[in-house]
């Protein structure tokens, strides 16, 4: 038989549990609301080096169905370091490839190991123009996730070249490595042995006589 004192104690403990649960749920909802509000208001910040104020950048996202590149404006807080800026831009581009509804679908977590810059070689007697060659070190994970084909591979390279040139105009040439090593092709088709001119990445749609 349960004593009256035990019944009272049990009731008090049960009441305390209910009150604590209600408080915890309320605190959790408040925290969730706060995080959602921050994500909506604040631009994407980059946890690398000293991030500057958010700036407008342009990512060139490919469309596999018509072979075009589409300019997508984004607000990013880029790091001060130029190499890191280039890497962040390309990482954001690769993220766009993996976004739901992407027109250039690719599932890769991290695609860019590093981006290096070299001065473009000038002919003897010419002064430096300030033009730079970007050496983009792609991750092996990106090469493995890249859909194989002339079009999908070429579009990936063109999108990176166009994005780099649009946001860092001094970049006029681009060379690609995979995990720090030269590789013949990206995924069996697009040539990675050559240095590309950034001007080859023409974001204008190519007209065709075919019906869509």
């Amino acid at each position: 038989m349960i004593s009256r004192a035990n019944k009272i104690l049990f009731s008090v403990l049960l009441l305390a549990c209910v009150i604590m649960a209600a408080v915890l749920i309320r605190l959790r909802n408040r925290a969730q609301d706060r995080l959602q509000a921050e994500a909506t208001v604040a631009p994407e910040s980059i946890a690398e080096g000293t991030a500057s104020a958010p700036t407008q950048v342009t990512l060139y996202v490919p469309n596999d169905l018509d072979g075009t590149l589409t300019a997508v404006p984004r607000s990013l807080a880029l790091p001060a370091d130029r190499n890191a800026q280039a890497r962040v831009l390309l990482e954001k581009l690769v993220e766009a490839f993996g976004a739901p509804g992407s027109t250039h679908a690719m599932s890769v977590v991290s695609g860019i190991n590093e981006v290096y810059f070299l001065p473009v070689a000038q002919a003897a007697g010419q002064t430096s123009s300030g033009a730079q060659e970007a050496v983009v070190d792609l991750s092996g994970a990106l090469a493995a996730a890249q859909p194989s084909g002339i079009e999908p591979e070429t579009l990936t390279l063109l999108a990176m070249m166009a994005t780099l040139h649009a946001n860092l105009p001094a970049v006029t040439e681009v060379h690609f490595l995979v995990d720090g090593q030269p590789k013949d092709t990206l995924a069996g088709h697009a040539d990675l042995t050559r240095t590309y001119l950034a001007s080859e990445a023409n974001p204008e749609p190519v007209e065709s006589g075919a019906a869509q």
Partner: protein
């Protein structure tokens, strides 16, 4: 040291008359020959397409079907491979260049996009020389390659097959001394006027092959211009 490709070996056999100026370099033989290069093969599987279908098998199927149709039209055809063989890009270009052909069609397949993707070399056009640098041999043929691409584009449009045009660096196109177009066949995504079809669909393959054959027949009349 750069390798060089002899683009006009035939001209060495015919000495010009003493009273006449030397004839221009004739880069291709008078007979209309088409080279079909089925990409990949052997241990080079190419792309994995729908299910377990491999790109190397689709390209070979398309090349063999196109070769049969072209021969039926009385066109000489040279193929870089007729079986599941491992060929280097250099060997493919060598076979194509030795044929002194009027058109080289490099056949690929992919699982992404829709319709047919046509690619020509990304090299800038350059003047034709007696000896072409191996790495940029296609530069002297880029203008003709673009014309051939336009013929194929038109024929595919007639067949209601969507086309994407582009320039790309894909081996062995840059080493070829002939008008060269890479034809990459993708599945047909259904749209307003098109019905969705898989790349393994025999009817779809026939539509593509027939359009390519029609384009090459048309090129037979235009290639010397």
């Amino acid at each position: 040291m750069a390798l060089l490709v002899a683009a006009g070996s035939a001209c060495a056999q015919t000495a010009p008359l003493p009273a006449l100026p030397a004839p221009p370099v004739q880069p291709v033989q008078a007979k209309f020959t088409v080279v079909l290069d089925a990409a990949h093969g052997g241990s080079d599987l190419g792309a994995r397409l729908q299910g377990d279908v491999l790109e190397k098998d689709i390209t070979l199927t398309l090349a063999m079907r196109l070769g049969t149709v072209l021969r039926g039209q009385g066109i000489d055809v040279v193929t870089t491979r007729t079986s599941d063989a491992n060929l280097t890009p250099e060997k493919r270009a060598d076979t194509a260049n030795a044929a002194l052909s009027a058109a080289c069609v490099v056949i690929h397949a992919t699982a992404t996009g829709s319709g047919v993707h046509l690619y020509t070399s990304a090299l800038n056009p350059a003047a034709r020389q007696a000896l072409q640098p191996w790495a940029t041999a296609q530069a002297a043929y880029v203008t003709q390659s673009l014309k051939l691409e336009a013929e194929i584009d038109t024929a595919l449009a007639h067949a209601q097959i969507p086309v994407t045009l582009g320039r790309a660096s894909v081996a062995p196109m840059d080493n070829m001394t002939c008008p060269t177009v890479a034809v990459e066949v993708a599945p047909l995504v259904g749209g307003h006027v098109t019905e969705g079809r898989e790349i393994t669909d025999g009817g779809y393959q026939k539509s593509v092959v027939d359009a390519l054959a029609a384009a090459l027949e048309s090129w037979r009349n235009d290639w010397k211009q």
